[in-house]
Structures are given as structure tokens and as C-alpha cells.
Symmetry: C2
Subunit: 373 residues, 2 copies
């Protein structure tokens, strides 16, 4: 079976890099390493889960081209995105006398990417890394933009660095092993990219929902490519999130609050889905978004199987959710702000940037409507 | 008594910043903070030693202008330049809900600067910091160039980041509390700046040795300013140490090896002093440096009270020192390189940069001569 040509999305940062997307693109990794030589030695960072599923195949591809790697396996799961796990990586690098001319290969989901990227950002004050995301969420979100970091008990991503990968290989083949819930979590971020910048992407996501849920590789590759193109365009314009990059936070002010207030019972994408519905509805009530468009967004998310209501079993009140939002790092000087669309595909810009004031009375009313009975 | 105008050395990086040098310049800090507003809240990072000596005065200066700071005190000493101490800082910031719009004030020697700078580099993926160095070594070396980091058991500075301060206030008044040994350690780095880039600075250091040792504030301020100017010029040309910045490593290939092989019985500046003598002598034997100039360098260091021989009581052999040098991160592909002067004030550049191959037979012979009986 011939495969379609991979998508190649350029990310114009310093240094520039490329996101290669398609079924089987992991096969390009060895040749790229031999040509680009980001390091003179390599360590493959992965987790216990991905070590079992995909690491042997990747190591075999590398070994076939004579590229040796040492593998460092970290415990799987969000709970391990910690300083202690980063130290585990560093201790393994130190034990292997890993030099400043080495490079890391991050094979896994968002947690592995954030950990390995942060370890690369600080090992010998910064060495290159290559991202090989294995989840949809990591392909569209974590692997572009260079946000790396770890969580503290007091909050997510409190310690980290901006560190761009030298290349990203998003092999759609890896998505076959995802759970349905992980798939949906990634689709929420794809939908977000549509809302903030690409109305056609959102329409296609809606139109192809059945094929997306059936995980047709070429459909997924096209969606990932379009979402990555949106992310790349935004990040290029504002690497350090001083202004334009704030639009990527659409759905995340309330989404993060739901995620933390639920004690992480909600997956990231699930929380962002509910957050997007809530924030779009607030935007409509505040006169920022034309009225029916919030319903369109909600419809697409629902057809993808994503939650669009606050589940009753979480026992959350609007007041508790807004309190959690205020506690989040994005609430500056105690005032809630969020990125709001003015239409599907276009974000509104206020006088001080893309973070618009959220009317808390409106938000409380919207969240009250959205609570499941 | 009127004080001379402070020296103001610009460092042209992105963003640019200024190093303010002179007796009493800490008094400029509050007004600068109010004008530049690097943060909306501040944390003063210091160690147990400096907390007792200088932190109350700095807090009083800030309080007089209505600037509140929380103070985070870390244990004093090189042994505490660790990931655990960085976590202590982070935990204190988290407990105080310190935001991404805060900034750190680093008050102390090189260890505090490296720790606080690294904590600033990664808190919320990077917040500003202001350096207020209290030792001569930190004023001339650690506070310019943005190298931050911590040590691992396997090696020094294995984990860190490049993160430039927003401003540096080098108050010569703080130097009054240094031990003679700490002063000498800093003078070794001043001498290094003379050798690599400013022959007049080395000559003045020699001529004024007695006034330097007597710690005359205006003499010290002039020397610090000249050394900082050298450091700034080099760092501007090569922020990430890919080429020109390697000249700052003069004396450090053998110096670091002595430091680690001695189990840190030698202070950094002492080790660098011996390292400079050894590397200059190797440069002379290898035909890079005109023959008598290595003796000139040695003479200046000796007159400043710095060691110019390998102390017998360390029990080190040339082979052990060179083995430690090879183990150091600067030995790429196992081959020893070091930056060598071609004349006092000028560093030699080889085909691949400023790291010249060190002839190990020559180095072994030189070190054998330098062993105290």
C-alpha cells in the first residue's frame, strides 16, 4: 500500500524546525538524525507505557542505521510530571556521562515531551531535543511551541522553560494504540485550533466526525497538519506568550479551573471542551461573539463525543469553578480574563491584548446552566 | 565624604542591561525597581551568611521606598548549590503564590546568584531577576553572562540555564566583609580578564597590588569595572559559548580539574590561578605565547597572594590532574583543549575556535614542575 506524502509544517523560530506528520513518519527519524546531527550521542526518553508499545520499534529503526541510543524510562502518568522525575532523567544522564554535545529524543505523550524537553532545556544549560509524540494531544499541542515543564503540588507547570525541539515526527501510526478517551482529549485541541484561527478546520472536523472517530489515518494526518499549522503560526508571532499566543488559551481559563477543581478526574481535553463551550457562551453573552456561533462550537464538540456539560458527579458549583480559575496563574491581579472568539476562526482583541475581561456574573450564570442535573 | 560616580557598564544582549559598580550603589536599587518595574512583586533570595551581614540593610533601603519583599534564605556554601536548594526556593515561592509577573532579587555570592538565577529562569518558564553580588568573584564573574545552574554529584553546573539578569548592582561596600581568601579568589578572575583581553588591567592590578589587598574602594571599583567590561564584551559576541566565549575559560581546563581532584580543598579562584600559570606555561612551550609572558602572569598572581604551584598536601600527580580534566565536560571527544593567550591581552584562535589542543606530554611536564616539593 502506498502512503500519502507526509505533511511538513515549518515552524519559523530561531532555529527553525519542521513538524513531519503522517502514517509511518518515524521511519524518517534515523536519516534525519544522520543528516542534521543534532547531537553526537542520543538518549531516548520514554515512559513505562510507551516503552512497551512503541520504543522497541523506534530503537530498531535507529539501530538499522547504526544509531545507538540509551533509553531512560520514566513512570507513566500525569502524576509523575514532577521535579523528582526530571531528576531521575538527569541522574541517568549523569551516570552515563551524557555530554553537552548530546541530544534527547522524547518518545511519548505530553508528559514525556514536557519532561524530556525540560530536561533538555537545562542539561548543560541546554541541549537539543527531538519530539516524537505518540498521542494526538501531544502531536497538536505539546510538541509545537516549546513549552516544557513540570508540575508542583501548588500548581501545574510552575517550573519549566521555553525550549523548542529541533524537529517533530508525528507518526499517525502511533495513534492506533490510544484509548478512545485519549483520542477525544486530543480532538478537543484540534477543535480549539479551528475556533481560534481556521473555520474550515472546524467545519471539516464536524463533517468528518465519523471518520475521525474511526481513526482513518489520512483524515487524522490532515487534521493534525492543519492544527499544527495554526499552532505554529501563533507561536511564531509570539514565542513567549506576551500577546497573540494568548489565543491558544481559549477554553483554558475555565478548562484549567475544571481540571484542577475536579482533582484531575477530567482529562485535559475533556476539561478544555467544557471550558470552550463555557467561554464561547460567555463571549456570546458579553456581545463579543455573534449569538449562534457558540452553539455551532458546542455541536461539533458533542459530535466528537466530547463533554459539553459539567458532569454532576464532580459536585462542582459555579462559585467553586470560578474560585479555582482565580487561583490559576492566568488570573492577573485577581481579575479573570480569557481569550474569546469574535467569530469562528477569529479571536477578539481588546485594548490590552487577547485576554478579555470575563464578566464573572455572566460566567456564573453560564456555568449554572451547564451543570448536569 | 563624596563618593565617585558609579561605573555603569552596558551589556548589549536581548534585553540589554547595565552593571552598576561602586561603593554604595545598592542605594540605587529601589529607584531602579520603581522605574524599570521588572516585577509586580519581589522575592529576595539570599543565604544564611549574607542574611546576617547585608540583607537587613538592603531590605531597609527597599522598605524606605515602599517596596515590599519576601525573603527566602538558603543554606550558605558551595555544597548547597543543588537541585534540592532550588526546590526549597521554588517551594517558598509556591507557598507565597508568587506569580509569573514577579521578579527575584539575588543577594549574595556566586552560589546565590547561580541558584536564584536558575530559579528565575524556570519559575513560570522564566521571570526576571536582578543580581546584587556581594563577593568579588560574583561581581566580576557570575553576575555577567547569564550562566546559572546547580551542581550534581557527578559534576558542577550539569543542570542550569542561560538567563541574563535585568540589572546588576555591584556594591563595593559589601566587599568589606569578605575573608582574604574570598578576596583573592575574586582577584584571580580579575587577572584572567586582564590576560585574555586587557593588558593594561593586568598591569594596573600588578602596580596597585598593595592597594588592592588593602581593599581601597575606588581601586576595587575601577578593577571590577574593567573586568566586567571585558566579560561583557566577550559575552555579547557569543552569548551561548559557541566560540569567542571560550576565552573566558582560560585557566579553567586545568583549574577545574585541580578544583575537583582536590575535592574542592582549593577555592575556585585559587584553582584558576594555578590553572592560569599552568596553561600559560603550556602555551609558551607549545609556541603559542611569547616565552617570558607566562612568567609575567605568574608574577602578578603571586604578588596578589594567589597560589602559583600545586600544593603538596593535596597529593595530586600530573596524571591525576589530567585525568580529572578529561573527565570534565570541556573535554570533547576525549581530547583536552584550552584557551591560550598569544600575548597578554590577546587570545590565540585556532582553526576550529579558541579552544586549542593541549599537548598532554607538555602539560604533564609543566604540572610536574609546578608540584610543590
Amino acid at each position: 500500500m502506498t502512503q500519502p506524502e507526509p505533511h511538513r509544517i515549518p515552524v519559523s523560530l530561531a532555529p527553525p524546525y519542521e513538524v513531519v506528520i503522517g502514517p509511518g513518519v518515524a521511519r524518517e527519524l534515523p536519516a534525519w538524525l544522520l543528516a542534521a546531527r543534532p547531537g553526537h550521542e542520543y538518549a531516548l526518553i520514554t515512559d513505562t507505557h510507551v516503552e512497551r508499545l512503541h520504543a522497541p520499534a523506534v530503537r530498531a529503526l535507529l539501530a538499522a542505521e547504526g544509531i545507538e541510543v540509551r533509553t531512560i524510562v520514566v513512570p507513566a502518568g500525569e502524576a509523575h510530571k514532577t521535579r523528582a522525575t526530571k531528576e531521575l532523567i538527569e541522574d541517568a544522564l549523569a551516570a552515563g556521562r551524557f555530554g553537552r554535545d548530546g541530544a534527547l529524543l522524547a518518545l511519548g505523550g505530553g508528559v514525556v515531551g514536557d519532561l524530556a524537553g525540560f530536561a533538555a532545556a537545562t542539561w548543560h544549560r541546554g541541549i537539543p531535543f527531538v519530539a516524537i509524540p505518540t498521542t494526538l494531544l501531544a502531536m497538536v499541542d505539546a510538541s509545537v511551541g516549546g513549552k516544557t515543564g513540570v508540575d508542583l503540588p501548588a500548581g501545574k507547570n510552575l517550573v519549566g522553560a521555553f525550549h523548542q525541539p529541533r524537529a517533530v515526527f508525528a507518526d499517525i501510526g502511533f495513534l492506533a494504540t490510544l484509548s478512545d478517551r485519549e483520542m477525544r482529549s486530543g480532538l478537543a485541541e484540534v477543535a480549539k485550533c479551528g475556533v481560534i484561527r481556521d473555520a474550515k478546520l472546524l467545519a471539516r472536523l464536524d463533517h468528518d466526525a465519523a471518520r475521525v472517530i474511526a481513526r482513518e489515518p489520512s483524515v487524522l494526518a490532515d487534521l493534525v497538519a492543519d492544527a499544527v499549522a495554526v499552532k505554529a503560526e501563533v507561536v511564531q508571532a509570539d514565542e513567549r506568550e506576551s500577546d497573540r499566543r494568548q489565543i491558544l488559551n481559549f477554553g483554558h481559563t475555565i478548562g484549567h479551573a475544571l481540571e484542577s477543581a475536579s482533582g484531575y478526574a477530567l482529562a485535559h481535553g475533556e476539561a478544555v471542551s467544557i471550558g470552550m463551550v463555557a467561554e464561547a457562551r460567555c463571549a456570546a453573552r458579553q456581545g463579543v461573539l455573534a449569538a449562534p456561533e457558540d452553539r455551532v462550537i458546542e455541536g461539533v464538540l458533542a459530535r466528537l463525543g466530547l463533554p459539553v456539560r459539567v458532569p454532576a458527579l464532580l459536585g462542582l458549583t459555579p462559585a467553586a469553578i470560578l474560585e479555582a480559575a482565580r487561583a490559576d496563574k492566568k488570573a492577573r491581579a485577581g481579575r479573570l480574563r480569557c481569550a474569546m472568539p469574535s467569530a469562528i476562526g477569529t479571536m477578539a482583541r481588546g485594548e490590552t491584548g487577547y485576554g478579555l475581561p470575563l464578566d464573572e456574573a455572566v460566567a456564573a450564570a453560564v456555568l449554572a446552566e451547564m451543570l448536569e442535573a
